[in-house]
């Protein structure tokens, strides 16, 4: 080949980029305002489709020209539905609006798009620096993030491959195809990329094992994502599928596989649709198929819909389920890279791992290593849920401390409560106390603390949560999701759950704590696969760090977080209760609230189901409803037969 000649792949890519630029110019030809609406599953759940319709209707009614641009998720769940309005003629920068209900949408069309008033009281921030409106990058929730993998999420239309191309997409693949496969593996190795599926296994090591084998091989993107509360992978697939496909294609080229699959759970219908469409588009533009970008490298890609069992995310179970069997893990070794799908060498990587590959190749290993820590380079993506002010998806440099993530990025504990615990890594992870808040978030530090990265689910608990109860919840989950194959996980976790159930009902005995610990130890050591081996983690860590909470349940029948219903009681503080107010009466589903002889309110503890509705209903200026644990401490307020009769007569 003539060294001065532009190589084939690059030329083909340039042609596609030119086509993409042309399409953009066409779209932008009419200088109309653009309304970007976040429409991934999270946005849709918050009502993004209604918002979109409201925009469309209002625009039509008022005869205003504007372009609606469907984008993925920006990760700010607390603010959904999120809309960005770019209205250059107004003189304002592009503006980020949060919680845009259909009503707000109609209002914005009328007042902002028609009359040029952006309604300052509804503005969250501007997306670029300016001197009129605070720039979102000035807020910690934005400035402390480092978007490497999620950079394009919420910016581009996930269903339009040309937007990805126009944003520099597929350049890494084009360049990779002109590089020796071994050099790609070396570059990924130099970057120190570690698998984001939980265990942090070095990706280059996995790839080089597979690359060293001959014959047919497969590469699979693991998008099973079954952890309760984790939705990073779904969001990435729904917001920027092509970056994942690009990473998967590079992986296939690097290891010499000609077939690639994306394993998505069928419970993610939008992700399935978007990925399927993305693959079709890539194929029709020559990015997949007979000759990828004209390189002669052949790659077929398809979506496999998993049945949605949590255990099918475990790589050997995933393979079994793709082979048409019951999704049950098998003993490793052999590892999938030795004998995987249909007995052939198979590389399985997580969505986030693969999505990290194009930016690494584009910017180089050095740049990747400049973010994160020496042993865990790059970024960590967490879905932070629970009692924080700004829950959502965050991408932060590895090595950021838990404190920074919880207090700065996510705005701290909601409702001015205090921190109790953070559960990291979902049902396989651990529960850490306040003294661990300065732990840096990276693979090894979390393991050392007894937690793990897992796939990136994080639940933050305030003083109003019960650690025992939350662990019970996670164990109930793993216990149900066990494949049922091996003795320890199938039966052992059930015994653990029995004890946890007793604890949260106040029926446990002192020996139960030791039993629980022994069970946890044996299950961890004896189980066949990662599910069983890690299922005891929440309990083991919380027994270590929150033992006094377990003991309170056993010894005093007291739930410190006042969450375990059998251990709590509600009562009304008579000094605070306002005579004549009956805000709480109607809301009680069991008519447990009665009027006392002094025309205040009391709760009949026999009837009370402890739903807490009265506490919510009591006006804040009185704030008279109290929760107490152990339950027997609740003061008994006698019913007044006279008042009861009056109430009955009235009814």
């Amino acid at each position: 080949m003539d060294p001065n000649e532009t190589p084939q792949c690059r030329r083909n890519l340039e042609a596609l980029q030119a086509k993409a630029a042309e399409k953009r110019r066409e779209k932008e030809a009419a200088p109309v305002p653009v309304i970007h609406i976040g429409s991934a599953t999270c946005g849709i759940a918050a009502g993004a489709l209604d918002t979109r319709q409201a925009f469309q209707e209002a625009l039509a009614e008022r005869g205003i020209e504007a372009r609606i641009h469907t984008v993925g998720c920006v990760g700010h769940c607390y603010a959904e539905p999120v809309v960005i309005i770019d209205h250059p003629d107004s003189g304002f920068p592009p503006i980020f609006y949060h919680e845009v209900t259909p009503g707000k949408a109609r209002m914005l069309v009328k007042l902002f798009l028609e009359q040029g008033d952006p309604r300052f009281e509804h503005i969250y921030g501007a997306t670029i620096e300016n001197d009129m409106i605070p720039w979102v990058q000035e807020f910690p929730r934005f400035s402390m993030e480092h978007r490497l993998v999620m950079d394009r999420c919420g910016r581009i239309d996930p269903e339009d491959i040309f937007e990805y191309l126009d944003d520099g997409g597929y350049a890494a693949l084009a360049a990779a195809l002109e590089t020796e496969p071994s050099d790609i593996v070396a570059e990924i190795g130099a970057a120190g990329l570690r698998g984001r599926g939980g265990a942090g296994f070095p990706t280059a090591k996995k790839w080089s094992f597979a690359a060293a084998t001959d014959g047919e091989k497969f590469v699979i993107c693991n998008a099973d994502e079954g952890d309760p509360g984790a939705y990073m992978d779904r969001t990435i697939l729904e917001s920027n599928p092509h970056q994942v496909l690009e990473g998967l294609a590079i992986c296939a080229y690097a290891v010499g596989a000609s077939r690639a699959m994306v394993y998505v759970r069928a419970e993610y219908p939008l992700a399935v649709r978007i990925v399927t469409r993305a693959i079709e588009q890539a194929r029709s533009e020559g990015i997949l198929g007979e000759s990828v970008l004209g390189s002669g490298f052949r790659l077929d890609m398809e979506v496999f819909q998993g049945s949605g069992a949590f255990v099918c995310g475990e790589e050997t179970a995933l393979i079994r389920s793709m082979e048409g069997f019951r999704g049950m893990p098998v003993h490793r070794p052999p590892y999938p890279v030795e004998a995987g799908l249909f007995g052939r060498p198979t590389v399985i990587n997580n969505v986030k791992t693969l999505a990290s590959v194009p930016p690494i190749l584009e910017n180089g290993a050095e740049a990747y290593r400049s973010v994160g820590t020496a042993d865990s380079p790059g970024t960590a993506i967490f879905s932070v849920v629970g009692d924080v002010v700004h829950p959502g998806l965050v991408e932060i440099p590895m090595g950021t401390t838990l404190r920074t993530l919880i207090y700065d990025v996510c705005g701290g504990i909601a409702k001015k409560k205090s921190f109790r615990a953070v559960q990291i890594g979902g049902p396989s992870g651990g529960c850490l106390p306040e003294s661990f808040l300065d732990t840096p978030i990276d693979f090894d530090s979390l393991i050392e603390a007894g937690a793990m990265m897992g796939s990136g689910g994080m639940v933050v608990m305030s003083e109003d949560s019960c650690v025992v109860n939350v662990c019970r919840y996670f164990l109930e989950f793993t216990q149900k999701e066990s494949c049922g194959r091996c003795t320890f996980c199938r039966i052992g976790t059930r015994h653990m759950l029995e004890i946890l159930n007793r604890l949260t009902c106040g029926e446990a005995v002192e020996e139960d704590l030791e039993r629980l610990e022994n069970l946890a130890h044996d299950i961890r050591e004896g189980s066949l696969c990662g599910l069983g081996k890690t299922a005891p983690n929440p309990v083991l860590t919380s027994l270590r760090y929150f033992r006094e909470e377990y003991e309170a349940h056993v010894r005093e029948g007291r739930c410190p977080g006042m969450m375990c219903r059998p251990l709590i009681a509600y009562y009304i503080e008579l000094d605070k209760c306002a005579r004549g107010c009956d805000a709480c009466v109607g809301c009680c589903p069991t008519d447990a609230v009665f009027t006392t002889s002094t025309r205040k309110k009391g709760i009949d503890l026999e009837l009370c189901v402890k739903c807490g509705e009265c506490m919510v209903a009591c006006p804040p200026e009185y704030d008279a409803v109290r929760k107490i644990s152990p339950a027997h401490l609740a003061p008994v307020v006698e019913r007044s037969p006279k008042r009861d009769k009056e109430a009955k007569d009235k009814a």
Partner: protein, 213 residues
């Protein structure tokens, strides 16, 4: 190629790559096991009884999944191994309807042998007994299944698959509720079972019974 390994201080000769559990058993070293079937690969490694310790590896491993290699040093009788084995057996017994005198497997039941060997009582202390419903699965015309006797070793279905390439037996349910089910859509489907009944023979306990009459 023949290799030498040491098990509990005894030097043994074996074919490289052969199954460690089988090598132990062939040499008269008792290693508890329920789910292993010689020759049927890969092992499900489901019962979690065949643990041994290998020098150089920090946690006990299931011997049915270990190919032997030269110089391997194996300990079958360590505290850690026994603890796991007892724990596994106690778990199995905690979901077992212990009613030996009314069970046809009485006196040739693997659970009884294991309990004797590991010195574990048939009623596991400290664990609640959790039984499944229904007690009997009578759907198959010729085979009756007792879920509360089954140890889910998968021997029956693997044997059946091996012989016939397909099987009316399958695992069903998830987690604790996993059971062996005998699926036979039509009586004709079940016909071959009448003359085979291999599953009944390989069941280490009394969970499968051939219906008579």
């Amino acid at each position: 190629m023949t290799v030498t390994l040491t098990v509990d201080g005894k030097a043994l000769q074996a074919e490289a790559g052969s199954n460690l559990l089988e090598v132990c058993l062939e040499n008269g070293i008792t290693v508890p096991n329920l789910c292993h079937l010689p020759g049927l690969e890969p092992p499900p490694a489901a019962c979690r009884l065949c643990f041994v310790e290998l020098e150089g590896i920090d946690a006990p491993v299931t011997s049915c999944t270990v190919p032997v290699s030269d110089g391997m040093v194996v300990h079958t009788d360590t505290d850690r191994v026994r603890r796991l084995q007892r724990s596994a057996l106690r778990f199995l017994l905690s979901v077992h309807d212990v009613d030996c005198k009314n069970c046809h497997a009485n006196h040739h039941c693997a659970l009884q042998d294991l309990a004797r060997f590991l010195k574990v009582g048939l009623k596991p202390r400290g664990l609640s007994i959790i039984l499944k419903e229904p007690e009997v699965d009578d759907d198959h015309p010729f085979i009756r299944h007792y879920p509360n006797r089954c140890v889910l070793c998968e021997r029956c279905l693997r044997t059946c698959h091996d012989r016939h390439g397909h099987s009316p037996l399958a695992l069903s349910g998830r987690g604790f509720d996993t059971v062996i089910r005998c699926f036979a859509d039509t009586p004709e489907d079940a016909q071959p079972c009448q003359s085979c009944a291999a599953c009944v023979d390989v069941c280490p306990v009394g969970a499968l019974v051939l219906k008579t009459g």
